[in-house]
């Protein structure tokens, strides 16, 4: 198992080694030591490998990930797993703003809490947060699923499109055009699957409420001007 120590190896070398991995390579388990809050750690990977990062990371860890499983044994700064395409990013600690921003696929699991704008502009990613999320989360969220076991801050799902939001705790307030929606069987099944895939046990899908778009802002109407 290659172990790369960022206190002695330049970041560029780590990322380039990870990019050089073609499918079917032998080095499938990587370890990163002493990340010390560095930015852009393990970004742009496109191979089915696992990368374990021992410590906290700065901005954009796991950015644009494809296929890989990136685990941060610590907390992560802003924009973790931004624009992820596939694979999985797991954060053992808390995450800062814009977690999973614009993500198009794969799964982001946050074991702690997420700050504001979690899942902003998400485009297909699944995000599961075991703790709570901050204000303006799922702003302009297009598709994908956001699951929150704790509470959600103000203006959840503002200007949301077709993403599905599931919150188990309290929602401080809903943003423009976001409404509570009926939890049907298909949603319970989906939620069951998301919980299972993120390794969560002892929590039932029926404990959640579902939120999504009222679709009132989809085509311009002057009488909704206050909401634009």
């Amino acid at each position: 198992m290659p172990a790369i120590d960022l206190s002695t190896t330049p970041l560029r070398e780590l990322n380039q080694s990870l990019h050089a991995l073609a499918e079917g390579n032998n080095e499938t388990e990587w370890e990163v030591l002493n990340p010390d809050g560095r930015h852009a750690v393990a970004v742009g990977i496109d191979a089915p490998v696992s990368v374990d990062i021992r410590g906290p990371v700065g901005y954009y860890c796991g950015g644009m990930n494809k296929q890989a499983t990136v685990t941060v044994h610590g907390s992560a700064g802003p924009g973790v797993a931004e624009n992820m395409m596939s694979g999985k990013v797991v954060i053992k600690g808390d995450v800062s703003q814009y977690a999973g921003a614009t993500g198009r696929g794969g799964m982001l699991v946050v074991e702690g809490n997420a700050a504001s704008r979690c899942g902003i502009s998400m485009k297909g990613i699944d995000i599961v947060v075991k703790g709570s999320i901050g204000h303006m989360s799922a702003f302009m969220a297009q598709t994908g699923n956001l699951v929150v076991l704790g509470d959600a801050g103000d203006a959840l799902g503002d200007s949301i499109y077709e993403a599905r939001l599931f919150v188990r705790g309290n929602v401080q307030s809903l943003g423009a055009d976001c409404v509570e929606k009926e939890m049907r069987d298909e949603h319970l099944e989906l939620l069951e699957d998301l919980l299972q895939r993120s390794g969560i046990t002892g929590v039932k899908p029926s404990e959640f409420r579902r939120y999504g778009s009222a679709r009132k802002l989809y085509n311009f109407n002057i009488d909704n001007a206050d909401a634009y």
Binding site: L11, R12, N15, Q16, H19, H39, A40, V43, G44, D46, G58, Y59, Y60, G63, M64, K66, P78, G79, E82, N83, M85, Q97, Y98, A101, T102, R104, R117, I120, S121, K123, G124, F139, M140, Q142, T143, S159, Y161, E162, Y218, N219, F220, I222, Y228
Partner: protein, 441 residues
């Protein structure tokens, strides 16, 4: 004798002119602000207000057609492992697939290839056709991130982070439901037929300090190969350019208020931002103050129409220019040959700007397959190439006349201004005087 009151000529108000009155009636009827394409239509201080002095006793000219006057440009020499090499200092600006038909994008690529320059994607992502038909393609990184993915990022020859556009500094994108075809909807991961409100701020960074880290991430993802541009609208060019350099840009694009757009509120287009002419010197000043002029390249856009405009922008310190509207006209936009169809749309050739409605008779700003096939991509590409070559020849003609063997050697000292406003903005003397307003004595 009966008292006779002689009639006066009916007089319309200069303040409440016909256009203003029609706009009040339009707003009252529809209850929505006017949305349109193209750039500012009002008269603004512009390149026409500048003149070249030419060579004379103190400077000698180069022989046209014999003595070489080079035009090539290298963009992205600061950090990128693979800078871009262009044959001419004129690039094709970012225009989205969605705003433009696939055919129009193909035509832009074909024309740019022949002329030896680059094209740019837009809000909506990269299409395979576009990549295939553009030898050098700049991939835009926009707030909406529609279609953004690492594969296209790596396929691109450069990355342009869009902070703003001259037509709407501080505004987001807009693509109305009429133009959201199945393909456009799929590329943007949104339902068909809904209005798309692209965000005006990036979702995962705010401010130049964050942007510096964002640029680091993009460089790491692409192994430091690609030049990274930052595009700003003409708002506060001195500070915007200085901060773009600080954030780590290889190239800065400054787009003045005449810059075209696919669809924006009329009030935004006409009332926000500074004219292109007013943006160039502050932008160059910022680069010079940081010791980065010619190290970080400057591309200027917004109302570039001919080789004289190109030469003037370069003389004021730009490394290259970008064109949007003019390229569309070269392809066939607003062609008088289609006058009867423009009339049917309630407009006239030269004035058609309802590009957001997707009913373009020229087949350029549309997603209607029937209209789009009217544009012959090969022929239109050829027309664009011709136009680019003419512009380049014109700029060379002027540069030679001023005694320069590369268009980049044009300088402010080659210019004078026809108006006090232009003299102040371009920081060159008013014609016939040594007076540069705003520079003291």
């Amino acid at each position: 004798m009966s008292y006779h009151n002689p009639p006066t000529t009916p007089r319309k108000s200069a303040t409440f002119d016909d256009y203003t009155l029609s706009e009040i009636r339009r707003a009252a009827t529809t209850g929505i602000y006017d949305i349109r394409g193209a750039g500012a239509k009002r008269k603004l201080p512009h390149f026409d207000d500048l003149l070249f002095l030419g060579a004379s006793m103190s400077r000698y000219p180069l022989e046209g057609y014999r003595e070489k006057c080079s035009t090539e440009v290298v963009l992205g020499t600061r950090f990128a492992k693979k800078p871009i090499h262009l044959k001419i200092p004129i690039t094709i600006a970012g225009m989205s697939f969605g705003a433009l038909s696939g055919n129009a994008k193909e035509a832009l690529g074909r024309g740019a290839n022949i002329a030896g320059t680059s094209t740019t994607t837009g809000d909506g992502g990269m299409t395979p056709e576009e990549r295939g038909h553009s030898k050098t393609l700049v991939y835009q990184y926009l707030p909406s991130r529609y279609g953004m993915n690492p594969d296209d990022l790596r396929k691109a020859d450069a990355i342009e982070i869009v902070v703003g556009q001259g037509a709407k500094p501080g505004g987001g994108g807009m693509l109305l439901g009429q133009k959201i075809s199945d393909r456009v909807a799929e590329m943007r991961t949104l339902p068909k037929g809904i209005d798309q409100r692209s965000a005006c701020r990036h979702p995962d960074w705010t401010g130049p300090d964050d942007l510096e880290i964002k640029i680091l991430e993009l460089r790491e993802i692409t192994d430091w190969e690609k030049p990274i541009y930052i595009k700003v609208g003409g708002a506060r060019p001195y500070y915007d350019v200085a901060l773009a350099v600080k954030a780590g840009a290889d190239v800065v694009v400054v787009d003045g208020m005449q810059g075209g757009t696919a669809a924006t509120q009329e009030v935004f287009i006409e009332h926000v931002g500074q004219p292109t002419l007013a943006c160039i010197r502050p932008a160059v000043q910022a680069l010079q103050d940081l010791g980065m002029h010619r190290k970080v390249q400057l591309i200027v856009s917004g109302g570039i129409r001919n080789g004289a405009d190109v030469a003037k922008a370069l003389a004021l310190g730009a490394d290259a220019v970008a064109i949007g509207s003019a390229a569309l006209v070269a392809l066939g936009d607003n062609d008088p040959a289609l006058e009867s169809e423009y009339q049917a749309l309630g407009t006239t050739a030269g004035a058609y700007d309802d590009w957001h409605e997707g009913r373009d008779p020229a087949g350029i700003t549309t997603q209607d397959p029937k209209l789009a096939t009217r544009l012959d991509a090969e022929l239109a590409g050829r027309r664009l190439a011709n136009y680019l070559k003419v512009m380049t020849l014109e700029a060379q003609t002027i540069a030679r006349a001023c005694g320069h063997n590369h268009v980049h050697n044009l300088e402010p000292e080659d210019l004078c201004a026809l108006t006090i406003e232009a003299a102040a903005m371009a920081r060159v003397p008013l014609a016939g005087t040594s007076w540069i307003p705003g520079q003291g004595l």
